[in-house]
């Protein structure tokens, strides 16, 4: 066990070491860095973290992170309220937003179905999704989930739940990546791309 020069110092190391991917050595470096900063800088740092936890909420509609009851995306009147994109977590919202190609709303599931990890449909934001679909405002649901077995399981489950409600269900395309060479694409992806080929008129960049 490493001994530290002070109890306060040790407590700080312990707190940093709780962060994901941070071991005791990295935590020590961070604490030493903090000690070197101005008091005001560190004050600002800790206030930011405190505010983060105290003031960030999850949007009542889509479960995205938000400072208000309804997030800025759901509150945006220019967005297409008939279009709903299903994602696993907040990181996926950020990724899709950065493409600037999507103008509909989101629904964050908070995970994907994997009984091995103790995650079943009840652990996810699925009931609120079904309620939304039942209300009749949504015309199309876009499934943007991981292309893993667990992602596919979740999509299938949601399809079974949403299809009877009369919403159209689409999934994001899977295929050869843009700028990618055919010979380097993995066999399964390439095989699917051939099977699910698209009419050239539709593939011309608009």
């Amino acid at each position: 066990m490493i001994t530290y020069p002070s109890k306060i110092f040790e407590d700080a190391v312990n707190e940093f070491a709780r962060l994901p991917g941070i071991g005791r050595k990295s935590a020590l470096r961070m604490v030493l860095f903090m000690l070197k900063q101005d008091v005001s800088t560190v004050q600002h740092f800790s206030e930011t973290i405190q505010r983060l936890r105290a003031e960030i909420k999850y949007c009542n509609h889509c479960h995205n992170i938000s400072e208000t009851e309804i997030c800025s995306i759901c509150a945006d009147n220019k967005r297409d309220k008939n279009l709903l994109c299903i994602v696993e977590n907040v990181r996926d919202v950020i990724a899709i937003e950065n493409t600037q190609q999507y103008r509909g709303l989101y629904h964050v599931l908070g995970g994907i179905i994997s009984p091995l990890d103790g995650i079943g449909p009840a652990q996810l934001n699925i009931q609120s999704l079904i309620d939304k679909a039942t209300s009749g405002q949504i015309k199309e649901v876009v499934m943007a989930l991981a292309t893993t077995m667990e992602g596919d399981t979740t999509v299938f489950y949601l399809y079974k739940k949403l299809h009877p409600l009369g919403v159209s269900i689409t999934t994001i395309a899977r295929g050869v990546s843009v700028g990618g060479e055919i010979e380097y694409a993995d066999e399964i992806t390439l095989g699917r791309s051939i099977l699910n080929r698209v009419a050239y008129e539709n593939s011309i960049t608009k």
Binding site: I113, S114, P115, L116, G118, G120, E150, T153, F156, K161
Partner: protein, 358 residues
């Protein structure tokens, strides 16, 4: 023809370090027990299969050393290949082919095929059905990549389905999805195993007959629930039972191989000698099966003292007919194997293990 021309070890098991040039034909290693004959065979196994046939990776590093290294130079039709396998304590093992590291070890397995006949083969008869399934799976995976992918998918879904059964939830949509995937992968695996047995059975029977030279009729049967019902029906029929027992009762994960002699199951009724004949025939059939793709190296570890006249004659005939490629033999007796090969006028390269190590 494929053979291992040179082997070098560093801190592997009880070896400090070792450099040895090998013969492309028959190599015989003699010496008392406990000196490391089998460990040397295990090193060769590592080069081909990326793992030990005896123990876990960490147990193979010499005590006190930080790492073990096994390096081999293969020659195949004048082309040279260098395989390097490094084991470090608490770290992932690294396997390199011509200095290039594999990202997936599975890509290496099968590149330099190997068959090993050893006393542990008896496990194939005694142990549970998983050992016998692994025997088929490792054979099929080496020659069929799609099989391996389907098998991995099947096992993954099976785990998820069993986990779901344990939660007691009745999310029928999830079962529907898992079952669909299990049906697709399971049916594929069943078809492959079925056609594998069609090819494998005659090979096995032929070797068994040559070994025993008797009127005893042996048989090898692929036992599977899928013969009577397809995977879809099985899952549907067993669903209530699955829910009660909290695991999946039917499927290709329940497959087995049944060995019989004169229609009696070998597991319960056969003598030690009959069981030995079965396992040797099984391994020789494995050798013949893989040979149609690429002739494997053959290890005969510690079995020469246990061979009776018929088995010995059959083995030696195979040697003389050039059925084998490179062969490695270990024996405790210094001259026994050499004398046998002399009798058959087959040249060998002998190594005394205590001299190798000094």
């Amino acid at each position: 023809m494929l053979y291992l021309a040179h082997l070098s070890l560093l801190h592997f098991k009880n070896y400090d370090h070792l450099q040895i040039n090998l013969h492309s034909g028959v190599n015989v290693f003699t010496g008392p027990n406990g000196l490391g004959k089998t460990n040397l065979m295990d090193a060769i196994h590592y080069l081909c299969m990326c793992k030990s046939f005896l123990s876990t990776d960490s147990a193979n590093i010499k005590r006190g050393a930080p790492a073990a290294m096994i390096q081999g130079n293969f020659l195949q039709d004048e082309t040279a290949f260098e395989v390097l396998c490094t084991l470090r304590k608490d770290q992932k093992k690294v396997v390199k082919l011509n200095s290039e590291e594999y990202t997936k070890l599975a890509d290496h397995v099968g590149r330099f095929p190997i068959v090993i006949i050893a006393p542990q083969d008896q496990m194939l008869i005694y142990e549970g059905s998983d050992v016998r399934r692994r025997f088929i799976d490792s054979l099929l995976s080496q020659t069929d990549r799609v099989y391996l992918e389907k098998l991995m998918l099947y096992n993954r879904i099976l785990q998820q389905r069993n986990a779901l059964l344990k939660t007691g939830q009745t999310a029928y949509e999830l079962y529907e999805f898992y079952d669909k995937q299990l049906v697709d992968a399971g049916q594929h695996i069943y078809d492959k195993r079925k056609s594998f047995f069609l090819m494998f059975k005659p090979l096995f029977l032929q070797h068994f007959l040559s070994i025993t030279q008797t009127v005893e009729s042996a048989d090898i049967q692929y036992q599977t629930q899928l013969d009577s019902n397809d995977m879809k029906t099985l899952l549907a029929q067993n669903f209530e039972r699955d829910l009660r027992s909290a695991f999946t009762n039917a499927g290709i994960h329940k497959d087995d191989i049944l060995f019989t002699i004169n229609e009696f199951p070998v597991k319960r009724f056969a003598s030690q000698g009959q069981q030995k004949s079965i396992t040797i025939a099984l391994k020789l059939a494995q050798f013949t099966y893989i040979s149609s793709h690429n002739k494997p190296l053959l290890i005969l570890d510690d079995i020469y003292d246990k061979l009776d006249e018929h088995r010995l004659t059959h083995l030696m005939q195979l040697m003389q007919n050039n059925s084998f490629g490179q062969v490695f033999i270990t024996d405790t007796h210094p001259n026994r194997v050499a004398n046998i090969f002399n009798k058959y006028n087959t040249p060998i390269q002998s190594f005394a293990i205590d001299k190798l190590k000094s």
